[in-house]
Amino acid sequence: MAALRHISRKLFYNFKPESKLKSETCAICIRLLNYSAIEYDEKHDPAPVFFNKDIQSLLKTLTRVDLAKVNRRRKLGTKKLEDPEYKFMTDEQLHQAIEKAKKNTEELLQIPPVVALRKPTSRVLSKDPALQGLEKSRMVFTDITFGVKDIERLIVVREPDGTLQEVDWEMRNRINQTYFPSTDRYIKPPKMFFGEYFESLLNRKEYEFVLDRACTQFEPNDPTYQRVVSITYQHVNDNDGFEILRSTRHFGALTFFLVWHKSIDNLMSELIETAHIEEADKLLELFTKVHGISFEGSQELDRIEDYIKKVSSKKAVLELGVQAYKDLAKRREELDTGIETAHGLR
């Protein structure tokens, strides 16, 4: 394994000076990380499932919102922290303030959309061979009318051979960013999404940073976005980084990804280990809704055991976890009865 890694790294360094095509670098970086990009393709569009209200609410419950974590102190890029403001408040005022903040928190926790990859577009508008050789470079014409959506904006390119066609997605992004720049988005995607930089970020478990920046830099149907996000999710899944992403906006998307690709074993075992049986049950409900596989059983644990039988690929680990949970529940019950008898309630 190490030897393979070494060879691939060597390859990568050898490639670096010549490689001008991005796809090459991508392929190599994937090999380095031992993960391949898993994109949502058009044949099975996840959007209708993802935007379903039930599924959205399930994803939100699974996110397990901790207000303190969502609203923890973050650095805003200024050198010094600002002075806090203090207020005297009555019960009512405090209640109102908390309600207002909760609404704000909901906005912050909006799950980034999960959609299929975009279709390549290069609709040819006209071919004018008479214009061939008039210009040496391509000419781009942009409709910069105010208020038009970025995806709907008319941007066309005149090729040197006289063809007039719609621009491809990459150039559209570049032109949009040139004329209508959005803050924190760069014309060229930052290097942190590629190669060794990406690998090092993942190894340092900077998942939230990677995902946040991917959200600002790319559109959700961008292949690079889906590559970055899918590799990050796989890394989280393999390295048990669920707690890092919990109660952030990305946890819903992560769960959906895992459910969509039927690899919820790690998440399930984490939930059982931390004794969040209700959440594990919710996860199964989500699984049922996405894939139509139902699990029988009147109680939560029964359904989980049914899942382990039917679908799971890590049966041994999960069964051990369930057994440990059962023991724990039993001991807790014994303790409770003991306390009750000691108090003379029974």
Partner: protein
């Protein structure tokens, strides 16, 4: 006659007798002739007592380095000091001298191996004299030891601001984790009936454990060392509790005054540091306050500052006390945490909006400063702000405003500053003089 003799002695001094120069006839012959001719017996008297060997070195030095009391009053001897006294015996050993002679039993062993050591003269050592002179030159020019930057106080090697360690233990009670810092060290005078002006040193120190305990005291003595010790130990006996907010700053903004010294103190978030008068900064360091802003209005007498500041610190209210006093929740809003209401303290029973009278102060800052308002002066623009030349300068700088960011981005993207056209036109790269390769240099 006498003159002649003197000449002779001079020639003796100057000349060295050697085998090559035959001097004897020149000197001896005229002498012989005169002696025999006149038959006069001459003698010279030598007295072995003189000014220099009558008195001990101590008195001799005193004679040239001190002035009488009466002389001092008239202003004499301002350039003299005891530090100019030199110990001429230093570096000299009995038995070893200018003439490098071996004295068995004194400067050498009597028997070396199986041989008796004989007295003999060795060639003169030219280094000895030089060393002695060097040693004497060093004496009298005393240099203060250089302090490490950590040990330094407010100014150079002066005491104020310097740390002098924890107070001495009293019985079995030790002051662990305490540190004392000097705030003031000055000479003070007192008129006595029989002595006149009596000079003493007065020292003001503050001590604390860096965790909410602090005390200050003044000590006076004839010597600095004793005064420091006195003050330090007294301050250890006068400790008071200081309430801290989250262990890093004051509980709330407050105003405090002692005599003509007025201090406005503000609570600050982590990482702000201590932005205040150096005396307040030193007190904060000792007590354990890490972030604070304080503005002094009026006198900056250190004695009054320390009193005013400690008064303010001890009068602080805990958030719980404030909430209980107002019977309202005390809520913190931080921009960094999305202005999420963070309840700092809650009362047992909270008032409703109807219970609050119209004229009650609800603004937290006003409540803390007890109605006083801090005068925040507008910062005046610099004198050159209105100049035409400054306007032109700003215009010229306008185009460079994003240059550093562009450079940064280019380095991040290409590893060097170059144009996006550099692939096509290799000259579109920032010029850098070529360095010699290591291999070339080795060859």
């Amino acid at each position: 006659m006498a003159v002649q003799l003197l000449n002779i002695t001079k020639t003796f001094q100057k000349l060295t007798v050697s085998a090559r120069c035959n001097l004897v006839p020149i000197i001896v012959n005229p002498l012989k002739e005169e002696l025999y001719n006149n038959n006069v017996i001459t003698y010279s008297s030598t007295r072995n007592t003189n000014f220099f060997n009558k008195l001990p070195a101590k008195d001799l030095w005193k004679g040239i380095t001190s002035v009488s009391n009466a002389g001092k009053k008239r202003g004499r001897g301002k350039n003299t000091s005891k530090s100019k006294i030199k110990d001429l015996n230093r570096g000299q050993v009995i038995g070893i001298g200018k003439a490098n002679i071996v004295w068995p039993g004194l400067s050498a062993p009597i028997i070396r191996g199986k041989e008796l050591v004989r007295q003999e003269q060795l060639p003169e050592d030219p280094e000895r004299e030089k060393k002695l002179i060097q040693l004497r030159d060093k004496m009298g020019t005393f240099k203060h030891q250089k302090l490490s930057p950590i040990e330094r106080g407010w100014s150079g090697s002066k005491m104020p601001g310097r740390s002098i360690g924890p107070p001495d233990p009293v019985g079995e009670e030790t002051f662990e984790g305490f540190d004392t810092k000097v705030l003031e060290l000055k000479t003070v005078f007192n008129m006595k009936g029989n002595f006149g002006r009596k000079r003493r040193l007065s020292v003001l120190v503050v001590t604390g454990n860096g965790n909410g305990l602090g005390g200050f005291a003044m000590g006076k003595a004839l010597e600095a060392k004793i005064a420091l010790r006195k003050a330090k130990n007294r301050s250890g006996q006068k400790l008071m509790h200081v309430k801290l907010f989250k262990n890093h700053t004051v509980c709330h903004d407050f105003f405090t005054q002692f005599a003509k010294t007025k201090i406005y103190v503000s609570q600050k978030p982590e990482g702000y540091g201590l932005v205040c008068h150096r005396a307040i900064k030193t007190i904060c360091e000792v007590v354990g306050i890490k972030d604070l802003y304080a503005k002094i209005e009026g006198s900056t007498n250190v004695n009054n500052i320390i009193k005013a500041f400690f008064l303010g610190l001890t009068r602080q209210k805990l958030p719980e006390e404030m909430a209980e006093e107002k019977k309202l929740h005390l809520v913190q809003f931080c921009k960094e945490s999305n202005n999420f209401p963070n309840v700092i303290a809650s009362p047992k029973e909270c008032r409703t909006a109807e219970d609050i009278p119209n004229d009650e102060i609800l603004d937290f800052k006003q409540y803390c400063f007890e109605g006083k308002v801090v005068l925040n002066k507008k910062k005046r623009p610099p004198f050159y702000a209105g100049y035409k030349s400054y306007e032109l300068y700003l215009q010229k700088q306008e185009k460079l405003r994003n240059q550093s960011k562009v450079k940064e981005n280019l380095i991040a993207e290409y590893g060097q500053i170059k144009s996006f056209l550099a692939d096509k036109y290799p000259e579109c790269v920032q010029y850098k003089p070529e360095r010699k390769n290591k291999e070339e240099a080795d060859n």
